[in-house]
């Protein structure tokens, strides 16, 4: 469905995206995560033909990025919700449906369906009167008026309250369930974790890791063993009336146990802790 190869984007002497390659299968939800300035937005904009790559190729639905046919098959949601305050959602969405050659009846049906699912009732009021969350819903509805196969969403829940965020997250999952291919970027790792089939972590314009969450956690995550003893041993930190030593393998646990026994003490407790996605993100993205 989407194939990206050797993608680069340079702005003067600054390289925003550097040799990024990935594939996204049909019906998959693919998340791009990374700190600010990692190159996520530039990658998404190149993906939907908004920005020309400095190098590399992008293919969406069999068409090059920017090709008019590719644009017809794609819905884009920018990070902000740039709307026209004086227009109502209905007239705004109809205009975009027109641009995509959607006939009037189908457009009306599609617009109503999208706004129903997003729970937006005010359809004939000027958008300028709307809250940020309501505007976001209109922007999401716009990305759907052409019934696209591919959706590219840049920070879809950015700056929204928890309730609206939840609505948007659930809606994104529903779109994937409907068979849409979704590529989006996010800062909120819980959002990513709850929606994405696969994730790519970007760092300084490059892909630092790609795969399912399980793959990434397996490859980049780790298990910590916290060994509690009643006597101080090397590298142990006081923890109340006990001493805590953190190690990363069972061999190390055995070594701590042996050292403690030689010191005349004993191991009181051993606890394990697996890395969360956030830990992995912090490690891999270098944040």
């Amino acid at each position: 469905m989407i194939s990206v190869r050797g993608l680069e984007k340079r702005y003067g002497s600054v390289t925003a995206v550097d040799g990024v390659s990935f594939d996204v299968e049909a019906g998959e939800v693919f998340g791009l995560v990374g700190p600010n300035g990692a190159g996520k937005t530039s990658t998404l904009k190149m993906l939907c033909g908004l920005v020309d790559p400095s190098a590399g190729t992008i293919e969406v639905n069999g068409f090059d990025a920017g090709d008019p046919e590719m644009r017809r098959a794609l819905g884009f949601l920018p990070e902000e919700s740039p709307l026209y305050d004086e227009m109502s959602p209905r007239s705004y969405l109809r205009f975009f449906a027109d641009l995509y050659d959607v006939d009037r009846a189908a457009a009306t049906e599609r617009i109503d369906a999208a706004l129903d699912r997003l729970d937006l009732d005010a359809r004939d009021r000027p958008v300028g009167d709307f809250s940020k969350g309501m505007k976001r819903k209109v922007a999401i509805a716009r990305s759907l008026v052409n019934d696209p196969d591919v959706l590219v969403y840049d920070e879809p829940a950015s700056g929204l309250d928890p309730i609206t965020t939840n609505t948007v997250v659930e809606f994104t999952r529903e779109l994937a369930d409907d068979g849409k291919t979704v590529v989006f970027s996010a800062h909120d790792l819980h959002h990513v974790e709850s929606v994405c089939d696969r994730v790519a972590i970007m760092r300084e314009g490059e892909l630092a890791a790609t795969g399912t969450l399980a793959d990434i956690q397996a490859e980049y995550g780790r298990v910590e063993y916290r060994v509690f003893t009643d006597v101080p041993v090397a590298d142990a930190d006081p923890a109340g009336d006990r001493y805590e030593t953190v190690v990363e393998s069972m061999d190390d646990v055995e070594r701590v146990r042996e050292t403690t026994r030689e010191a005349g003490g004993r191991v009181i407790d051993i606890r394990t802790r697996e890395s969360t996605l956030e830990d992995v993100f912090l490690d891999v993205a270098g944040a």
């Binding site: 033909g49 908004l50 644009r71 004086e86 027109d98 641009l99």
Partner: protein, 608 residues
């Protein structure tokens, strides 16, 4: 470009823009427009005449000239005290001994005004005669003269004098020779001029005006000759003031339209509102055309409405249409470069002032001088006054603005993309982006140099319009320098932009190749200047230096090769500097200008 997409965007733009204005504001705007539309023609037609009663003429109540003075708004009859001119109570005295006028610009102008009024007075009287053949016998005067300003002025001044003399007073001296025998008429004390008529006073005691001194400011002689003073009414043929004011009405709505249009374009860039449109399956050209169409259509509708109100024909609308497009194109480019509404205001004001001056200043000479053919408003004036417009004059006044508008829209569309629209870069940097955007290959450098010709042409025409009244000793050097500077910038600025934006490697070889292509492109585009031949503009001395300095006095082989060599060499010099940086570019352009000026001077000397 997809017409369906363009129309959809145009319809949307209309709907959206309408939503921008609340109903009360819209109603108020329409009311104001209607009031202006109703008042302007009425004011021009029935309102006070500019300069009403400014010339005080001392004339007795029973004198035949009393009726002439009463019929002309700029003349006011006062008591004919013999000392009236000396005491300043009158500008001109009409008496038994002829005319006495103040030895001042106003005194001479009053004499010219009286003469014109007399001609008009007589014409009206003769028009009431039953025998029109006797009233208006056909007199043909053939005068062969160069199309130079001074010759034209002399000719019209003489003719006017003849006409005035032929039909003055009740009897009218129909055999008056119309010659002029004096212009100064100063007395020894230098306070007043007097003129004794050569012809006899008529039987009824009225004076024949055939011996009125030919006022020095009559015709272009006053405007361009030794006398630099004059008034509109002293020009012969008369200064078409009313028509000009009406023509100016065509420019007013354009200034309103560009405000709305510029705001709309900038609104797309504020808060990234235009971003979703860029992802839709429409091209930037579709978007630009669609957004522009309602404003262009609105401007044309207003122009057509004004044409109906002021009595101008379809040709006037056709002439102003490219000007409207140029207003919009310049605004579009400005709005694409501006970073805020504050900057946009500066841009639109600059555009208004510059283009209004370009359209209005040459039109001041409508019906007087070929320089007026530069301006589309001259076609409007001709349409209102019923004068014909030649095909050449129409082409000259409309094609350059139309081409300039096309190029400006092209440049603006080149930066109608995400990377340029939403960044807050300085205007010069974005201008370089716009110039560099189309340079996909080296050949395009030559192509775009040729496309810049309308700007060069418009600028040089404007320079000629501004400088042609100045003494040749001043205007020619200034014009040679201006022409060289404008042309060298046109040949090199985009080359510099190309280097700055990394379109070309900064090597000597590339610089020379780009310079050669740019020079060749300019040489070919320069042929556009042949348009000036259509209206005989090179007949103006100063224009000859601007547009065809090499036409005279050089062998045919040199004629063909010399300009090409010049443009290639100077463009090469600028390109070498452009490849090395900004300061080097500026210095290189200055060097190229010097070479260019030296070439022009050599040609001028050769011509001389």
């Amino acid at each position: 470009m997809n017409p369906r997409s363009v129309l959809r965007i145009a319809r949307w733009e209309t709907t959206r823009s309408a939503g921008d204005v609340d109903r009360r504001t819209a109603v108020a705007f329409v009311v104001v427009l209607l009031v202006i539309a109703a008042l302007v023609p009425a004011l021009v037609t029935y309102g006070p005449t500019p300069g009403e009663g400014i010339y005080r003429v001392g004339v007795d109540d029973d004198d035949d000239y009393r009726g002439v003075v009463a019929a002309e708004a700029t003349l006011a009859a006062v008591d004919r005290a013999p000392s009236g001119v000396r005491t300043g109570d009158a500008d001109l005295l009409v008496g038994d001994g002829g005319f006495v006028w103040a030895d001042s610009a106003k005194g001479r102008a009053s004499l010219a005004a009286l003469r014109s009024a007399t001609v008009a007075f007589n014409d009206r009287r003769m028009a009431r005669e039953d025998n029109q053949s006797a009233a208006f016998p056909v007199v043909v005067t053939l005068t062969y003269a160069d199309q130079s300003v001074s010759v034209t002025g002399q000719q019209t001044g003489d003719d006017a004098g003849a006409d005035a003399g032929d039909q003055a007073g009740d009897t009218g001296d129909q055999t008056g020779d119309g010659t002029s025998d004096g212009t100064d008429g100063g007395t020894d004390d230098g306070t007043a001029g007097t003129e004794q008529p050569d012809s006899e006073r008529d039987d009824d005691g009225s004076e024949a005006v055939s011996d009125l001194p030919s006022a020095p400011e009559g015709g272009l002689g006053g405007l361009l000759g030794d006398q630099q003073t004059g008034t509109p009414s002293s020009l012969s043929p008369p200064f078409p003031l009313r028509s000009l004011i009406l023509a100016f009405a065509f420019l007013l709505p354009l200034n309103v339209v560009i405000q709305a249009y510029g705001s709309s374009v900038l609104a797309e860039r504020i808060n990234r509102r235009g971003e979703p449109l860029l992802v839709a399956p429409v091209s930037p050209a579709d978007i630009v055309a669609g957004k522009t169409l309602p404003y262009l259509a609105g401007a044309l509708a207003l122009i057509a409405g004004i044409a109906v109100l002021v009595g101008a024909g379809p040709l006037a609308v056709a002439a102003v249409a490219p000007l409207a497009a140029l207003f919009l194109a310049a605004t579009f480019l400005g709005a694409m470069l501006a970073r805020s509404y504050k900057e946009l205001t500066f841009v639109t004001v600059t555009i208004s002032v510059t283009l209004t001056a370009y359209a209005f200043v040459p039109a001041v000479f409508a019906e007087v001088h070929p320089i007026a053919s530069i301006s589309p408003l001259t076609v409007v004036v001709d349409s209102i006054t019923g004068e014909g417009t030649t095909a050449g004059a129409f082409v000259l006044s409309t094609v350059p603005p139309a081409l300039a508008a096309t190029v400006m829209f092209g440049l603006g569309t080149g930066v109608y993309r995400e990377e340029d629209m939403f960044t807050q870069r300085p205007i010069p940097a974005k201008l370089l982006d716009a110039l560099a955007a189309p340079l996909d290959s080296r050949l395009r450098v030559g192509l775009w140099t040729a496309l810049f010709m309308p700007f060069v042409f418009v600028t040089e025409l404007f320079a000629v319009a501004v400088l042609f009244v100045a003494p040749v000793e001043l205007s020619v050097p200034l014009l040679l320098g201006t022409v060289a500077l404008v042309e060298e910038i046109a040949k090199s600025l985009h080359v510099y932009a190309g280097f700055e934006r990394g379109r070309f490697p900064r090597t000597l070889r590339t610089s020379l190749v780009l310079g050669a292509l740019s020079g060749a492109g300019f040489f070919l585009g320069e042929k556009l200047l042949l348009l000036t031949q259509l209206v005989g503009l090179p007949g103006i001395e100063v224009a000859q230096f601007a547009f065809s300095p090499s036409v005279v006095g050089l062998p045919p082989g040199v004629l063909l090769v010399a300009p090409l060599v010049l443009h290639v060499v100077t463009a090469g010099i600028s390109a070498v500097g452009a490849a090395r940086g900004r300061l080097e570019y500026v210095l290189a352009v200055l060097l190229a200008v010097l070479v260019h000026v030296a070439y022009n001077v050599a040609v001028v000397v050769g011509v001389a």
